[in-house]
């Protein structure tokens, strides 16, 4: 179609759609005048608009995901593994995909479970698998699925099992709860299977409906006996833990949350009684259709398993014989010594009941009654904080640093730190914990030739300096001034000098500096620094190796002559992280193909590259061990980036670390005895300081992030948001008394940015719901939660230090309303909603779709609201920020600026606004901020003060509107400072001298005597791994 013509049609269509259906024909008749084809076209589109909803309405992301996943499975169709021919996929279990296959020797169908490559590539895990599976293969019982063979071929381990036609108990339960006689028949067979296995010393560890097959003839087959212990070798990512099997490293947890025993949850040594508990949860579900321990999240479920007594199954099933109820409740006893002690005892009781039922006449006649709904999940929420502390406590015995990281249920990671790593002799010690600011932390480490020192680069605010530290002992020492971007410290062969890349204020090149510090010397000028990374300094000291745009180069220092060492094209794969072998004859590097990173090795004098690792995982940062054969590298195949060591042929791969750290780089010491790693962490806690003395007091001391405190009007309680790590998804609203040591109470989750109502009786907060944000309110006791407004405009917080980029909502002075911003009816505008609910009104008149309206701020008398109008799009070059005044039926601009603006407050009289103007810099940069007094009516704006090196997003006016508190970063440290609103000298309040502490989220106490905020640290932890081989 002709675009011109289309535009005409499109406009008319829109105009017609804006009209009532009955008016459209007349409208088109006039609008199209004599253009008949135009009218027909628009009418046909209108008819299409009125047609029934079509499939276009429903997004197909889930379908795409299935397709993506299936693509990986397809490749196996028809393949032969040993003498088994894969026919089709049957399903997936915790340990891997299960396929239907044909045994070509015996001409029978079998089920073959293919273990995923990471497991099979790990020699140690493979051995354990073989051992466990062989033990299980010895079980010969009609109710246990037989294991025919355990083997491996082409690097993949597999378990061949009896193929059972039927459905899983899980599928059966899904169709509806079981008849009592059926449930009992199944339970007795299960008990027999358990009895048999337990007699052979084999514990199942993962009894659940998914692991029980029911054949058409009513026979029960328990799957995967003894394999759960093997399964845990395959460490899963935390995001998988929440719905699926909770895999873990040895000594920790194995099982599937809703079916786990309390001792399993606690990571204790398991015995047969754990299987009996899991069996109890399964039996409970069979007869009641419900799980005894439920919750919205894994943590809720775990809390229930540890703490709560499930409602008796009979509550959901009035016809349940009391004897059955007693059996189930004895299986589910938390204290294992009070539980059934053996499957044999249990089986005896079940059989006794079965005999009784056979003679009973009327057991199933009771009419079905509606089961009462459970609210276990809600009732348990208050249990979570203590549980979290408990979990942290039990997680620590491993001796590894347990600081949670990652999104979602990240505290769960604590579980994954094993009380003993599989290599009991492995020693991991933290050698440096380097806090950092807005920069990327420590992106790499480099160990010195004699193996006693390490170097890295680190800094803040876009600058970095070179640091050196002894591996054992000593403090890190910064050896370049950190005024420029000095990076990639690379040791000279004699270990005396470090080469690094920097432009050092106009001379881009490769520089050197003595490792003890001193004046840097230019080795060679080099252009286009940004694309280059240093790789190594040659053994003879004559050559520097560097990588640039996928390739490795050697530069003679004397002549500057540069040689291409690799020939990767600039398209296709990306190649980086080059490392030379100790003999400088081989290289290893990370190559990214199809979005996956893998490790390859090649010889420098030609020859084909060999792929060492990589099959759907991200393997990277390879470093040679001194034998010039093995490689240490990072891989995320266990979910987090962990350290692995590979043989040169890639045949053997050993996972070295199993902790909760997520490593970002590693290096191997020259003697090969140590692996140096770097990982990143973050932490923030609530503090306050006395406005007179500047004395600081901590109010929380917890892992994770405690942010954005808000003081109750009586000044007695702090509300804040807490999360274990970064994202907004799992942030909770917590309340803590200011005066006492008592623990913070977690009110609800998810919740962001809590704000007390002026009367202190209500807390408002933001909640993310399906990618939109809502304003909700709740009583401080956690009751009466209700929704106030939807589609609230929200934008992320800034980088470190974390601050909100805008005020998203504000209570009116009388507490009757809340103002917020939303684009829910077209353009972005200011809205108010009654805090009692209802009366949601758009009050500003913005018609410009390129504007955000943000940060509503009520005048002291509540008559008007000031707000910021900001052009959308971060890169608009001619951006002008405005201050608007909305209310009394009008919207007007009272101030404009060519740089970002923040509203600080109204003056006491309500006739002026205090505004902060910043520079056009990222919000995390301490910058020159100007405080400006802007008249609300007429008159010129006046500069009050200039705040040097202040954070634009962390400036707060006191309740009496006389003082402004702000955080500024002077002499490299964050401190809180005060300035009178009338102008005048600033006063430094806090006496922080630690450059790595950041102050965020300032709030005044209502009486003006205290300031509350978070003290935040982000740090890179450098660790040393020893005894890894």
């Amino acid at each position: 179609m002709n675009p011109e013509r289309w535009r005409q049609i499109d406009q008319l269509l829109e105009a017609a759609l804006d009209r009532k259906p009955e008016e459209r024909a007349a409208f088109l008749a006039v609008a199209c005048a004599d253009d008949e084809s135009l009218r027909l076209e628009v009418e046909s589109l209108l008819r299409s608009d009125e047609a029934a909803e079509s499939f276009i309405e429903e997004p197909v992301v889930a379908l795409a995901a299935d397709v993506i996943a299936e693509r990986q499975v397809q490749a196996l169709a028809g393949r032969r593994i040993s003498h088994y021919k894969i026919l089709s996929r049957l399903g997936s279990g915790g340990m891997g995909e299960v396929y239907l296959a044909e045994d070509l020797k015996l001409a029978r169908k079998v089920a073959i479970k293919l273990l995923p490559p990471p497991m099979t590539a790990d020699e140690q895990a493979r051995k354990r698998l073989l051992r466990e599976a062989r033990a299980a293969a010895a079980l010969d019982h009609p109710n246990i699925c037989t294991i025919h063979e355990v083997g491996d071929e082409a690097g993949r381990s597999f378990i061949v099992m009896q193929y059972i036609e039927g459905e899983t108990l899980a599928a059966r339960i899904k169709r509806g709860r079981l008849e009592l006689s059926e449930a009992l028949a199944i339970a007795i067979q299960m008990a027999e299977a358990l009895q048999e296995a337990h007699q052979h010393g084999i514990i199942h560890r993962d009894i659940k409906p998914q692991n029980l097959m029911l054949t058409a003839r009513g026979q029960v087959k328990v799957l995967d006996f003894g394999l759960a212990k093997v399964a845990r070798e395959r460490v899963e990512g935390p995001e998988e833990a929440d719905t699926s099997s909770l895999m873990s490293t040895p000594g920790a947890i194995v099982g599937t949350a809703p079916y786990m025993s309390p001792e399993q949850v606690r990571g204790e040594r398991l015995d047969v009684r754990s299987d009996i508990f899991s069996f109890g949860t399964t039996l409970y579900e069979m007869v009641s259709g419900r799980r005894p321990f439920e919750g919205d999240t894994t943590s809720d479920v775990i809390a229930a398993i540890l703490r709560s007594e499930p409602p008796t199954a009979g509550q959901f099933r009035p016809d349940l014989p009391p004897a059955m109820e007693r059996i189930i409740s004895q299986m589910l006893t938390k204290d294992r010594s009070a539980r059934y002690q053996s499957a044999a005892d249990l089986r005896a009781d079940l059989q006794r009941l079965q005999r009784k039922m056979d003679v009973a006449t009327d057991l199933t006649s009771a009419s079905e009654t509606t089961a009462r709904r459970r609210t276990t999940g809600e009732a348990l929420r208050h249990l979570l904080p203590p549980l979290r502390r408990f979990l942290r406590r039990i997680a620590v015995p491993g001796g590894l640093l347990v600081i949670v990281s990652g999104a979602g249920l990240a505290w769960w990671n604590a579980y994954r730190t094993p009380p003993g790593t599989p290599r009991s002799e492995l020693r991991i010690s933290q050698i440096a914990s380097v806090k950092f600011g807005a920069g990327p932390g420590i992106p790499w480490v480099n160990s010195s030739p004699e193996g006693k020192l390490i170097a890295w680069h680190a800094g803040a605010n876009g600058k970095s300096g070179i640091w050196v530290k002894q591996i054992v002992g000593g403090e890190p020492k910064q050896i370049t001034d950190g005024k420029w971007v000095d990076r990639d410290p690379t040791w000279a062969p004699d270990g005396q000098l470090l080469a690094f890349i920097s432009d050092r204020g106009g001379t881009p090149g490769i520089w050197s500096v003595p490792y003890m510090g001193g004046a840097p010397t230019l080795l060679r000028e080099v252009s286009d620094l940004d694309s280059k990374n240093l790789v190594a300094w040659s053994q003879d000291g004559q050559t520097i190796y560097y990588e640039a745009k996928n390739n490795l180069y050697a530069m003679r220092l004397a002549s500057g002559q540069t040689t291409h060492l690799t020939q990767f094209s600039s398209e296709g794969a990306q190649v980086f992280h080059y490392t030379l072998s100790p003999g400088e004859d081989q290289i290893t590097y990370t190559k990214m193909i199809n979005g996956k990173w893998r490790v390859e090795v090649a010889t420098l004098r030609g020859g084909a590259a060999r792929q060492i690792t990589g099959a759907g995982w991200n393997d990277r940062s390879p470093k040679w061990l001194p034998d010039g054969r093995r490689l240490a590298f990072l891989s995320d195949r266990s979910g987090l980036n962990q350290v692995y060591v590979a043989q040169p042929d890639g045949a053997r791969l050993e996972q070295i670390t199993f902790g909760s750290d997520n490593y970002s780089d590693l290096d191997v010491s020259s003697d090969g005895k140590r692996i140096i790693t770097v990982a990143e962490k973050e932490n923030a806690n609530i503090f306050s300081c006395d406005v007179r003395t500047g004395a600081e007091v901590g109010h929380t001391s917890d892992f994770g992030l405690q942010l954005f405190p808000d003081l109750s009007p009586d000044g007695e309680r702090i509300a804040f948001q807490s999360s274990d790590s970064g994202g907004d998804e799992n942030t909770s609203l917590s309340i803590k008394p200011v005066a006492t040591e008592s623990q913070a109470a977690q009110l609800l989750s998810p919740a962001l940015d809590p704000r007390w109502s002026p009367d202190g009786k209500t807390l408002a907060f933001l909640r993310r719901s399906a990618d939109r944000y809502e304003i909700r309110k709740v009583s401080p006791d956690g009751k009466n939660e209700s929704l106030l407004a939807t589609d609230v405009w929200f934008t992320s917080r800034t980088g470190v230090p974390y601050n909100w980029k805008a005020d998203f909502y504000n209570w009116s002075p009388d507490g009757a309303k809340i103002a917020y911003c939303s684009g829910k009816s077209g353009q972005h505008n200011l809205w108010t909603v009654a805090s009692g609910g209802g009366s949601d009104t758009m009050i500003s008149r913005n018609a410009d779709e390129k504007l955000w309206i943000a940060s509503p701020l009520w005048a002291p008398d509540g008559s008007r609201i000031a707000c910021i109008a900001e052009p959308k799009g971060p890169y608009a070059s001619e951006k002008v920020w405005g201050v608007w005044l909305v209310g009394q039926g009008m919207t007007k601009t009272v101030f404009q600026n060519g740089g970002p603006l923040r509203l600080i407050g109204w003056s006491a009289s309500g006739r002026e606004l205090i505004v902060a103007a910043g520079e056009r810099k990222p919000p995390t940069y301490a910058q020159n901020v100007t405080l400006i007094r802007v008249p609300a009516e007429a008159g010129a704006a006046q500069t009050i003060a200039r705040l040097p090196a202040a954070y634009l997003h962390n400036i707060r006016i006191s309740y009496d509107r006389l003082s402004v508190a702000f955080v500024s970063r002077q002499d490299g440290t964050d401190n809180i400072r005060l300035i009178p609103v009338s102008g005048g000298p600033t006063r430094k309040l806090t006496r922080n001298s630690d450059p790595t502490i950041f102050y965020s989220g300032l709030k005044w106490s209502p009486n003006g005597r205290m300031l509350f905020y978070s003290r935040q640290s982000n740090w890179s932890v450098v660790s040393m791994i020893e005894n890894f081989k």
């Binding site: 608009d49 276009i56 996929r89 997936s92 353009q827």
Partner: protein
């Protein structure tokens, strides 16, 4: 959470938003790789009642790939935009090969369950929509992108607005008109 490529992905995403088209080309395989990995994990989840939230997959990929401290909401929306293009390509490839197999082109000896992922009707719908969208793009690129973001990317109207730099109201109007056109185009075929 820092995944191996998060710094790189974040940098590329920011570069792309700054107008560096090459960055998009380099970003795409990274995102695809992550989606593939996430999808695999999603599929393996055992709870029988588990259903995939519309954009949970992409969201999770985003969280894993991007240093959210550096990327704001708009950056997130852009990321979703890339994912949408990718989802479209993946699904349409699949639907077309499904359709080919149905027409007798499939000589595979064993049938894999993947045939069940996309029903015949679904495959036909997807192909028809893809063709119609391509046609629409020829004279109204903006509408075709809106549909792509919503249908293939699972974005809400508001998110589509972020990616497109348009107001919610505009997106709602454009979406309605796009649907009218597409419905007609598809039913004609």
């Amino acid at each position: 959470m820092t995944t191996p490529s998060s710094q790189e992905v974040t940098r590329l995403l920011l570069a792309w938003r700054n107008g560096d088209q090459e960055a998009l080309e380099r970003l795409t395989p990274l995102v695809y790789g992550e989606l593939r990995r996430m999808a695999h994990r999603f599929m393996r989840r055992e709870r029988p009642d588990h259903t995939l939230q519309t954009s949970a997959l992409v969201n999770e990929a985003f969280l894993r790939l991007i240093d959210y401290r550096q990327v704001d909401w708009q950056g997130r929306a852009h990321f979703f935009g890339i994912a949408a293009q990718m989802m479209r390509q993946i699904l349409i490839d699949h639907a077309r090969s499904h359709a080919r197999a149905k027409r007798g082109g499939g000589l595979r000896q064993v049938s894999f369950e993947e045939t069940a992922i996309v029903s015949d009707q679904r495959a036909d719908e997807l192909i028809a929509l893809d063709d119609a969208l391509t046609a629409l793009a020829a004279f109204d690129l903006s509408k075709s992108r809106i549909v792509e973001l919503r249908f293939f990317g699972g974005l809400t109207n508001e998110e589509v607005g972020e990616v497109m730099g348009m107001s919610l109201r505009t997106i709602e109007r454009e979406w309605r008109k796009a649907k009218a056109w597409l419905r007609r185009a598809i039913s004609k075929e």
